[in-house]
Structures are given as structure tokens and as C-alpha cells.
Symmetry: C2
Amino acid sequence: MTDRTDIDALIDLMARLPGLGPRSARRAVLHLIAKRGPLLTPLAALMQTVADTARECLNCGNIGTADICPICADDRRATGVICVVEDVADLWAMERSGTFRGRYHVLGGTLSALDSIGPEELHIPRLVDRVAAEEVTEVILALNATVDGQTTAHYIADQLEGRVALSSLAQGVPIGGELDYLDDGTITAALNARKPL
Amino acid sequence: MTDRTDIDALIDLMARLPGLGPRSARRAVLHLIAKRGPLLTPLAALMQTVADTARECLNCGNIGTADICPICADDRRATGVICVVEDVADLWAMERSGTFRGRYHVLGGTLSALDSIGPEELHIPRLVDRVAAEEVTEVILALNATVDGQTTAHYIADQLEGRVALSSLAQGVPIGGELDYLDDGTITAALNARKPL
């Protein structure tokens, strides 16, 4: 089937996306070919546009299409508070909640001796610079509640101690969560941080 | 975040692929942007190429990049045997097994009164024409072992009865299958079709 190489190559590339394997990549490609007009052609064009225009915000590390991302450029957002997140997906998750009205700082990962990811790779010096330059009064450490995330949070807290108010996200029972399905650590955290009614 | 519309639009389109939801589409797009050179740019180009060149084989309904697909054009493949499949994914699955050396006929679905899919929509008249024109001696009905698939197989068998030898795929225990996990129907079929050692 020498003639099918472009379609085969497309399947191979699609299978490299997270969440897709060889089988689902084949299904996706057949779906794309079946929906050529409404889906495949616009998708190809949009991918090219994003490939040409997407870039990291020079200030916070968010992904946008300009040197300074819309959040950093939005002067209605509070400048005195920086929310530190591991990656852009976490920033988007925070934005979907619609609660936070300050700025962000995207680390791009967590500290890891094993993968030789040190403070420089995570733009932690740039965070320290921003705290001084933007007259920041509070840094919220919204890192994942994993060992790596918490190690990184401790390191950043050490760097910034005494310069700004530091806080981290509350730990406890998630909304809609059932106690029976929660791990012991979460229940312990929720109990220790219990609030008077 | 008005500036993020291209990336947002890309996420929305990706979420329309089978097997991807909003969350995995966001992950996929972030992965694409992170791997812009090795993945996003070639994927955009390849999608455009496939959008421009992919077409249905005029003879069998397979997808390729020419009017006649490589299988129909390959004169080393037997012309006397046609394997009837529901869709192109099934044809690819048959080809991966590497066993069948004849030609195919892709129906593009199954008969369905509910969705008003009749014989014309499934290219069944074209199959009947091919049986006469290509001097076919055997038609293998490789339709899915579902109610719709079997209804369609019966209809085709009625149309072709007396003109060619008709066969269908054997039913039984799949290779590596454990009896305890098989449904009753499969065990019954395997028992009824038991073979002497």
C-alpha cells in the first residue's frame, strides 16, 4: 500500500499526541478525512497559525500570541499578587475558576535532581526579580499537592521569606467529594484545618 | 484573554476528535506547542496534504490518494474474491492481519431503517455490479458480529445468492481468550463450530 504513505504518516504523528494510541489515532484520522471540510482543513490551517504565532510570555511564562500575554497586559488585574503554578495547564485551570484576579508566574515544572531541573530552569530567579520589580505583596504557591510540587514550594518559600506574604492553596475535601473515597492524607488535612461553623 | 483565541479555537477543534474531550484536547494542544518543530509544524502540513489528496477509491471505497486505491490497482492481488467490510477501519484491520490477498468492498456502514440507510447508501448495487464485472467466484462477508452487521450480511447474501460462493468469518474463541471472560453467545458459537482434533 505504497500509495497510502501520507495517511500513514499522519496516523503516526497523531499517535504521538498524549491520550491517543495507534488505534485511536487511526480512528481520529478516518474521522478527519470523513469531515474534511468542517474539521480537517480548518484544523490544518489553525495548527499552522498557532505554530507560527504561539510564544511564551516574557514576563510570566504563559502561552499566548504576543511577547506579553493578555493577563500580564491587562491593567485591570492586580499587580501586587503573583500566583505561582507549575505549568500553563495549571494556569488555565486557575483561570477557569474565575476567582483569581492577580498575575501568574509559570515555573514550567518542578525541581528535580534526577532530571537535573534546578531553580534556573524553573525561572525562579525571574520570580524573585518580579517580586522586587512589581512591588508584590503576596505570593500564592499554587503548586500540585505532590512530593515534587511541595519540595518546589518549600524552596521558593525559602527564597522569598521575609520579602512578601506567602500562602498556599487550602487542602481539604473537594467539592462533591465523598469521604469514603478520599485518601487518609486528605482527611487528616481537612480535619486539622477544620473551621468553626 | 481575547488574545488567546487561536489557541482556544485549536483546542475546540481538537476536542471534536473521537477519543479526545476538552481536557485531553487542552493537554494535546500544550504538547503540540511545546513540540512545535518536531510535531506541530509537520502535523499541520501533513493534514493539509491529506485534506487535499485523500479520496475514496471509485471501485471499492477504500481511502487513498488516487482514484483507484493501491489494493485495487495491485495486479498481484486475486480478482476473483471480494471481502465485504463495513468501513475503512475494518479494511485496515484485515490488511494488518496480512492474510487476505483478494480485493475489498467497503460498504460505509450498515443498513439502518432508523437512520434511513438503505442499500443504495451502502454501495450494495455497486457490489452486485462488481460481482458480475470482475468475474468474482467468492464473496466473504467480513461484517461486524453485531445485530446491524448481521442484518446487512443477510441482505447482501440474499442479493448475491446463486451467483457466487458466499462465506462469513468464523465465530469462536479469540486467540488468547479466556473462557471465563467470554459471553455466552461466543461460547455457544465456538461449541457448535467445534473442530475434531
